[in-house]
Amino acid sequence: MNYLIVFLELLLSMALVVGALAFSRLLAPRPAVQTESRPYECGAELVGNARVRFHAGYYLVALLFLVFDVEAAFLYPWAMAQAQVGLVGLIEIVVFISILLLALVYAWKKRVLEWL
C-alpha cells in the first residue's frame, strides 16, 4: 500500500507537469517572432556551440562521490544494527571508515581537491 501511494505520487507529478503545461498553452500567447527562441546569451550573436568541453575536475568529483556514496550505502545497515552488534561493530566500522579516509587523504595529497 505504501509503495502504491508512492507510485501514484509519481504519476501525479507527471500529471501535474503535463496538466500545467497544457493549461498554460490554453492561456498563453504563441511567440510570433522566431528570434525569441534563440538561446539567451547577453543578447549578442552566439559564438560556437554551447556544448563545450568541461574541466576534468567535475568528473573527479563525481568519481569521489561514487566511492563515498557506496560507503554510505554500507553505513545504513551498520547504523541500524550498531545497537546490537556493540563494540565489535564499532571496531569494524572504524577500520572501514579509516580505509576510506585514506582514499580522501590520497586525493588530497594528489591535489584533486584543489582544482580550477
Binding site: 503545461l21 522566431q34 550498531q82 580522501l104 582544482w115
Partner: protein, 380 residues
C-alpha cells in the same frame, strides 16, 4: 464509507487539538486496513493522501515565496509586496497567474524531450519526498520503513533533473550552472547522509514515524549530546548547499550566469523549477525538525510539570509548523546575510572540512551509543 467521512471531519479538528495519543495510523495504513472491508474507503484514503499532498504543495509554495520576498525586503530595509491583497499576501498568486499566461518558449536548439523531462524529474523528486514528511500524527501520508533512505534516493532524481535541464537548454550559462549544481549537490549529499546517519544510529530506524516517536523523552538535539549537535549544524549547512541557496548559490549566480541551469526556462516551466526549489527548502527544514527537534513532539523540560502540561496543549501540527518555520527562517536569514562562495572554496569546504568532520562525528556518535550515555538528563 460513512466512517471515513466522519473520520476526515474529525481529522481536521483533531490535528488542531492536543492529541494525547501519538500513535495514529498514517493515511496509507488506514487505506491498507480498509482495503479488505471496502475498496471505496481504501480509495478514499489514498485520494485524500494525494489531494492533501497537492494542496500542501500549493499552499506552501505560495506562502514560502511570499515569506521569502517579505523577509528579503525587511533585511534590505524595504517593504516587499504590499499592494495585492492584505499586505501583499496575494502577490504570489498573481505572479503565478502571470507565469501561466506567459508564452511557452522552447529554445531553438534545445533537446525537446529532455527539456520536458527535466522539470518533471525535479517536481517528482520533490513530491515523493513530501509525502514522507510527518506533519502531525494525523497528517502523515506514508511512513516507509526506509523513509530516510527513500528521501535521499528521490533527491537523486532532482539532481538528474537539474543536470538534464541544463544540458537540454543548449546554452552555455545553463550547462555551466547545471554542472556546478551537480558537483555541489552530490558533494554535500555525502555529509548530509552522514549527519542523518547519526540519528539513524541512535534510533535504529529509518522510518520517520518511529524517529519522531523515539523523541518522546526528549529531542535528539539534546539527548544526542555533542555528536547530534554537530550533525545538526552539518545538516543545516549541507542542506543549504543542496538547496542551491546563498552562500552556495553558484549554480544560479544571477550576476554571472544569468540564472544558471534554468536560464532558458520561462513561464510555467520556470515556475515548476521555482516551486520545487521552495518546496525542497520546506522538506529540508521539515526533515531537520523531525530528526533533531522532535518533529511534532512538544517541548518538555524535565521536572517542570506545569510547563509540560501547558506545552501539551499546543497541537502537534503547530509544533511542527513552528520548528519548520524557524528553520526556514534560518535558511532565509543565511541567504540574505552571506556573500556567495567561489566553486573551489565550496568544494574545499565540503571535501576538506565537512566530510572528514561528519565521518569522525559519526564514529563519536557510535561511541556515545556504545557507552549508553545518552537519554538521561538535560531538557527532556
Amino acid at each position: 464509507m460513512k466512517a471515513a467521512w466522519i473520520t476526515t471531519a474529525l481529522l481536521a479538528l483533531h490535528s488542531l487539538s492536543a492529541a494525547r495519543d501519538w500513535t495514529q495510523p498514517t493515511l496509507a495504513e488506514r487505506a491498507a486496513e480498509a482495503a479488505g472491508r471496502s475498496p471505496w474507503e481504501s480509495a478514499f484514503w489514498i485520494g485524500l493522501g494525494l489531494a492533501g499532498t497537492l494542496a500542501a504543495m500549493t499552499l506552501l509554495g505560495l506562502s514560502l515565496v511570499y515569506a521569502e520576498r517579505k523577509i528579503a525586503a525587511r533585511f534590505q530595509c524595504r517593504l516587499g509586496p504590499t499592494r495585492v491583497g492584505w499586505r501583499g499576501t496575494l502577490q504570489t498568486l498573481a505572479d503565478t497567474f502571470k507565469l501561466i499566461s506567459k508564452a511557452d518558449l522552447v529554445p531553438r536548439d534545445a533537446d525537446r524531450l529532455l527539456f520536458f523531462t527535466a522539470p518533471w524529474l525535479v517536481v517528482s523528486g520533490m513530491l515523493l519526498a513530501l509525502v514522507n514528511i510527518p506533519a502531525s500524527p494525523l497528517l502523515f501520508v506514508v511512513d516507509l520503513n526506509i523513509g530516510l533512505l527513500f528521501i535521499s534516493a528521490v533527491g537523486a532524481l532532482s539532481v538528474l533533473g537539474i543536470l538534464l535541464g541544463g544540458w537540454a537548454s543548449n546554452n552555455k550559462w545553463s550547462l555551466l550552472g547545471s554542472m556546478r549544481a551537480g558537483a555541489q549537490i552530490i558533494s554535500y549529499e555525502l555529509s548530509l547522509t552522514l549527519s542523518l546517519l547519526v540519528i539513524v544510529l541512535f534510533t535504529g530506524s529509518l522510518s520517520l514515524g518511529e524517529i519522531v516517536q523515539s523523541q518522546q523523552e526528549g529531542w535528539w538535539l539534546w539527548r544526542g549530546h555533542l555528536p547530534a549537535m554537530v550533525a545538526f549544524l552539518v545538516f543545516v549547512i549541507a542542506s543549504t548547499a543542496e538547496l542551491n541557496r546563498t552562500p552556495f548559490d553558484l549554480a544560479e549566480g544571477e550576476s554571472e550566469l544569468t540564472a544558471g541551469f534554468h536560464t532558458e526556462y520561462s513561464g510555467l516551466r520556470f515556475a515548476l523549477f521555482y516551486l520545487a526549489e521552495f518546496l525542497n527548502m520546506f522538506i529540508a527544514a521539515g526533515l531537520a525538525a523531525t530528526l533533531f527537534l522532535g518533529g511534532w513532539m512538544p517541548l518538555h523540560i524535565a521536572g517542570l510539570q506545569t510547563f509540560n502540561r501547558v506545552m501539551d496543549f499546543i497541537p502537534p501540527l503547530v509544533w511542527f509548523g513552528l520548528k519548520t518555520g524557524g528553520l526556514i527562517f534560518v535558511f532565509m536569514w543565511l541567504r540574505w546575510t552571506f556573500p556567495r562562495l567561489r566553486i573551489d572554496q565550496l568544494l574545499k569546504l565540503e571535501w576538506r572540512f565537512l566530510l572528514p568532520l561528519s565521518m569522525v562525528n559519526l564514529l563519536v556518535a557510535a561511541l556515545v551509543l556504545l557507552l549508553g550515555v545518552y537519554g538521561k538528563g538535560g531538557p527532556a
